[in-house]
């Protein structure tokens, strides 16, 4: 959908090229995140795609068309653009702000009104916000309005330059989730710039790690980058918690689950002891057929049968599509050091810290 071929930008008076021979392919419907240290040329790269900066050399195509062949203002009306400072027009209401590009495109009034209403719902703003001015909104609301404005004319391509950089971490997390949710519905081709590696990992279908001078050090899905950093720069940029970061990308379902020290309600105390010995633990889980009813300590055993035992419920449980990071969190905070895994309501096995660690080592 977007293709950069050997794109170079030299600013007059700059010490070296801001972006050097950069090539990048962005497929339709994917989110590509450009990430790298400050001053590495992320913004410059992004602005070359909507011609706010003209490349010194190289070629950029959007949907197969050379962007230099499209008049700049037409290109920009087809490409959504969101920046960190948002740049909402302070003298226009939220509705008028969102209507900016449709108005530039000369849409009819009623069509614009309908579209504005649709977008306000889409980005989860209250309908009452329509006639507010930007300064009457909170930071998070403004950011949503900025996204809505960029989406207004339904551009196939969106460029986002650190859009969540200025909001506090809690709101940022929520906006990221909303963006992913939105993307599932609108399927845009998004180029997203950030300097926050965690944000890149969370949002990107593919991540391009840039070095000073706009050099691509690695361009791959985040899981691949975390597993196989291409070089020392990438490794350093990923930081010291690479393993933990990877965990958040792998779902529990991808790890072989274990049965765990589980015995059926009808088993004898001896069976239970044998099972605990096998796993080297001093507790056991109790199944009723396929259903997990709870667990008990070894010391709770009294007599030969399990009938008198009142199973304690598992407080910690993870679902099959949770990430390993959530699973690990559950494991280390549970008393049994094990998390039972459920697929919907169905017990499918257990996961342990060792199992996770084995997976990472692969």
């Amino acid at each position: 959908m977007i293709r950069l071929e050997n794109v170079t930008k030299v600013f007059p008076g700059g010490s070296g090229p801001a972006v050097h021979q950069l090539s990048l392919d962005v497929a339709e419907g994917e989110i590509v995140v450009l990430v790298g240290p400050s001053g590495c040329g992320k913004t410059t790269t992004l602005k070359m795609i909507n011609r706010l900066v003209e490349p010194t050399s190289g070629r950029i195509t959007v949907a197969g068309e050379d962007i230099m062949a499209i008049p700049a203002h037409e290109l920009r009306r087809r490409v959504g653009y969101v920046i960190q400072q948002i740049g909402l027009f302070p003298h226009r209401t939220i509705a008028e702000n969102i209507a900016t590009v449709p108005r530039l495109l000369g849409w009819e009034r009623t069509r614009i009104d309908d579209r504005v209403g649709e977008l306000i719902r889409l980005v989860d703003l209250e309908p009452g916000m329509r006639n507010r001015y930007p300064r009457e909104l909170s930071g998070g609301q403004r950011q949503r309005a900025g996204v809505a404005r960029a989406l207004a004319a339904d551009p196939p391509v969106m460029l986002m330059d650190e859009p969540f950089g200025a909001v506090d971490p809690i709101v940022r997390g929520r906006l990221q989730d909303e963006l992913l949710d939105l993307q599932r519905r609108v399927h845009k081709t998004i180029v997203f710039v950030t300097h926050d590696i965690d944000e890149a990992i969370k949002l990107g279908d593919r991540v391009a790690i840039l070095n000073i001078g706009g050099i691509v050090e690695q361009y791959a899905p985040p899981a691949v980058i975390l597993r196989d950093p291409a070089n020392a720069f990438v490794k350093a940029f990923l930081g010291s918690h690479r393993g933990i970061k990877r965990l958040s990308l792998i779902p529990v379902g991808e790890v072989p689950l274990e049965d765990g020290p589980m015995v059926d309600r009808s088993a004898t105390a001896r069976d239970a002891r044998a099972c605990m010995d096998r796993y080297g633990v001093d507790w056991f889980g109790i199944l009723d057929g396929k259903e997990l009813v709870g667990w008990a300590w070894a010391s709770d055993l009294d007599g030969d049968s399990l009938a008198h035992i009142d199973p304690k419920p598992f407080e910690a449980r993870v679902s099959l599509d949770a990430s390993l990071r959530e699973a690990l969190d559950t494991i280390i905070t549970s008393r049994t050091r094990v998390a039972p895994v459920f697929d919907g309501g169905r017990f499918v096995g257990t996961i342990t810290a060792e199992g996770i660690s084995r997976e990472l080592a692969k």
């Binding site: 909507n50 706010l52 700049a72 203002h73 037409e74 290109l75 920009r76 009306r77 653009y81 920046i83 960190q84 400072q85 948002i86 740049g87 909402l88 027009f89 302070p90 003298h91 226009r92 900016t100 590009v101 530039l104 009452g128 001015y133 300064r135 009457e136 900025g146 404005r149 960029a150 460029l159």
Partner: protein, 220 residues
């Protein structure tokens, strides 16, 4: 000696027609000066913004004009343009330029670069950008300049009485010549009242033109 009253209301009531005439004249002189001054200032400000190298000489020149005392300026003009409205207006206009140009330029330059970038990023051309985004956003600063220029000009108009114009300055000059306090007080007070009134009107105009700057409570 019978103490003459300091201010004679009866004189005022006897001359309401004349007062009205001079007040109108005052407002017309002020209005022309502001209108012409604004057009010239806008043109020079645009030149200064478009070609930044021209901005220092523009402010230098208007600064010199501003520094020359008005009476001196009128004195230069009288031998050329006589005791006319033209002489008065040339002087009055030249005093509005510095304030207006500075505020127009500061207003436009003060527009948040992010807003400008967002507008360009959405496909605004430079002309539309100026008319629809930059100019409205600069309005509060520009109007602040207009207010200062208006109040200043109203005061200066009184001096043009010395070259045969003057609006309410006519009363001040005549009062001085006749040692008649009522007229001096009247002329001065009218000038102050006009300045305050025009300033208030401009504040209202600003409110109307820039609703987005108003403080508004959450709902409604």
């Amino acid at each position: 000696m019978i103490a003459a009253p300091f201010f004679r209301w009866d004189w005022v009531f006897d001359h309401l027609g004349l007062i009205w005439e001079k007040v109108s004249e005052h407002l017309v002189l002020t209005g022309i000066a502001l209108g012409v001054g604004f057009v010239i200032s806008m043109a020079l400000a645009l030149i200064g913004l478009r070609f930044p190298r021209t901005y220092p000489p523009i402010t230098w020149l208007t600064g010199v004009l501003y520094t020359i005392p008005s009476l001196a300026l009128f004195a230069f003009l009288v031998p050329i343009t006589g005791f006319t409205v033209l002489s008065a207006e040339i002087g009055l206009v030249s005093y509005t330029l510095l304030i207006l140009i500075r505020n127009i330029v500061a207003g436009i330059q003060g527009v948040d670069p992010a807003v400008r970038e967002a507008a360009l990023g959405m496909g605004y051309g430079s002309r539309r950008l100026f008319l629809e985004i930059e100019l409205p956003l600069a309005l509060p600063v520009i109007l602040a300049g207009v207010r200062i220029a208006a109040v200043t000009t109203i005061g200066l108009v009184t001096i043009t009485a010395l070259i045969g114009q003057g609006g309410v300055g006519f009363f001040i000059l005549q009062g001085l010549n006749r040692f008649f306090n009522t007229e001096i007080v009247l002329g001065t007070a009218l000038s102050v009242i006009l300045a305050v009134a025009v300033d208030l009107v401009l504040v209202l105009v600003e409110r109307l033109l820039t609703p987005w700057t108003a403080k508004r409570t959450a709902a409604s």
